[in-house]
Symmetry: C2
Subunit: 345 residues, 2 copies
Amino acid sequence: MENNKQESRDITIKDVAQEANVSIATVSRILNGKGGVSLALTKRVQEVVKQLKYQPNNVARALKIKESRSIGLIIPDIENPFFPALVRGVEDAAQRHDYAVILCNTDGRVEEEKKYIEFLFSKRVDGMVFTESLDSKNNIALLASSGIPIVLLDRRVEGMQASAVVTDNQLGAFMATEHLIQLGKKNIAFLNGSLKLSSGAERANGYREALTKYKLAYKEQLVINGAFTYDSGYEATEMLVRSGQKFDGIFASNDMIAIGAIECLAKHNIKVPEDVGVVGFDDIRMATWYKPALTTIRQPVYDMGKCAMNILVEQISGVREKYCEQIFMPELIIRKSSGAKEVGK
Amino acid sequence: MENNKQESRDITIKDVAQEANVSIATVSRILNGKGGVSLALTKRVQEVVKQLKYQPNNVARALKIKESRSIGLIIPDIENPFFPALVRGVEDAAQRHDYAVILCNTDGRVEEEKKYIEFLFSKRVDGMVFTESLDSKNNIALLASSGIPIVLLDRRVEGMQASAVVTDNQLGAFMATEHLIQLGKKNIAFLNGSLKLSSGAERANGYREALTKYKLAYKEQLVINGAFTYDSGYEATEMLVRSGQKFDGIFASNDMIAIGAIECLAKHNIKVPEDVGVVGFDDIRMATWYKPALTTIRQPVYDMGKCAMNILVEQISGVREKYCEQIFMPELIIRKSSGAKEVGK
DNA sequence: GTGAAAGCGCTAACAC
DNA sequence: GTGTTAGCGCTTTCAC
């Protein structure tokens, strides 16, 4: 039982070849299903492979064929409830195409981002799915110059030659604002995330667009830019309340902001939706269970992740030559927090 | 500018050596900080490295030194709110030690799990962090026989020679049940996840232990085993209500079960905490924001992930020779749902 | 201190 | 159909 002596992973193609009395080339051909090998040898080799518990060494393979079959996935933070579904979408698509995904959390810090990018370069990933941080400009240049396929996810980066998978944020914001307007709200505050992110900027446009269409004045005091976080929503609302500005609606640029806002309103004994109607964005899972359940703009996050990875695969394989942009449609999900009559689940 | 012609990643150690007029051995030594190289050469080489934008090829390195500097992380589903913090903990620790983590979602299916394990073998990961599915026995044997370092996370696997990082589930369940008892509850239902998982089994013990200590009868009709999901919690509660059994408290084996239970109770116009006090387990983020805010048993999930990865690194490097078991202490977080007087946040 | 050379496990010409 | 062989980019003995 000399094959018990070594670990499975120490068995090489050479051992298999020896044991089966063929050349390593033949073994390789069979392993890769290249064809052109007699049935007899094929069976014999497969037998030996099983018996020796041979495990192909893909790092050797990667070195030889210059293809690691792994990709990098760069996001700010998996603990942010927006990302798990996105990651899962990427992962599922990756797996179907036999790619490993290396997960990287940058916390939105550019230095971390840069470290990771270089790390992934050294790992010779075949491509990257990238959700940018606030000031990713330099890193994006780094990425672009590398020549490795990239797809931008959730956030578009202007001037970058890369595919992007995003939601129509402007439309979504428009729908959210319009919904509040149609509910009779006249003074709708807008608690935005960062304007530096395309999502933030585009949602600002949508908010404005709705106001314009319905001939409502745009009041600067009702618009607060911050971050896409609970705390930001809470603080912005605090400012709003303190400012004494009247408002009967809030469009929050994502659900976490919305929840932060509602918690703050509650502290001030302002009732949602009776006193103020609130609409969020994303439709994270919590939106369903939160009380009041959040009216929100759903993004098909899982599908977006999946789509991004599929595009990446196409670019890696060369099937897709040009960059492309996939724009997903947002959907208004009406629940309690906006105070609408017809409430869905 | 012939170096503009090729991508950075096509520059090899050989190009650097040539350009700097030294041998590749010298370049390698410098790159790896091995010492024993004159300052003059060191500076010259570093200069060239920068100028050529040389990017080390770690797949070649991995092949040579038989160490991929990547690990596999196998979990059921990143979309399950329990896991993001766990993953983040693993990831942060991994990064600090320069390991890449390859994320794998099995959905708790053993076949998926097996596929992933073999996939990771072929990638020659240096180790694995593993959160088992319901019937992982065979896969675990596979893992154990491979000889590669493994650490079990969140769920212990009996009879497996591997390190484990877990919470003291029995204690946690005891605390949860005791809390309800001390609130005067006499008929405490226990909605468990799966008994097949160590966490489920241990929590069942803790529930029982508390009942015994306080001389309350264990009533089989009040104990329902299901899965660690919202749906399971909802359905179990439906059964409970329909059964006509009296109960004034529910200990749910995790927060998702608790939320499912509360939603179901609400449907039946049973008020929480007035009619029934509910305690969950995990302290996922939603527990804070859910209404009523969930009293629950907190697990230090992030720290557990971190700890698991640190142990793995020690095992890989050989610093740690024997398996070890890290048991984290649970903590009772009192909020609204149990109906206690002193409510924290 | 530095360099020459072997070889990690694999694929893919190329030869037969 | 099958085998021989050259390297993929790197690390590391061994010799000088």
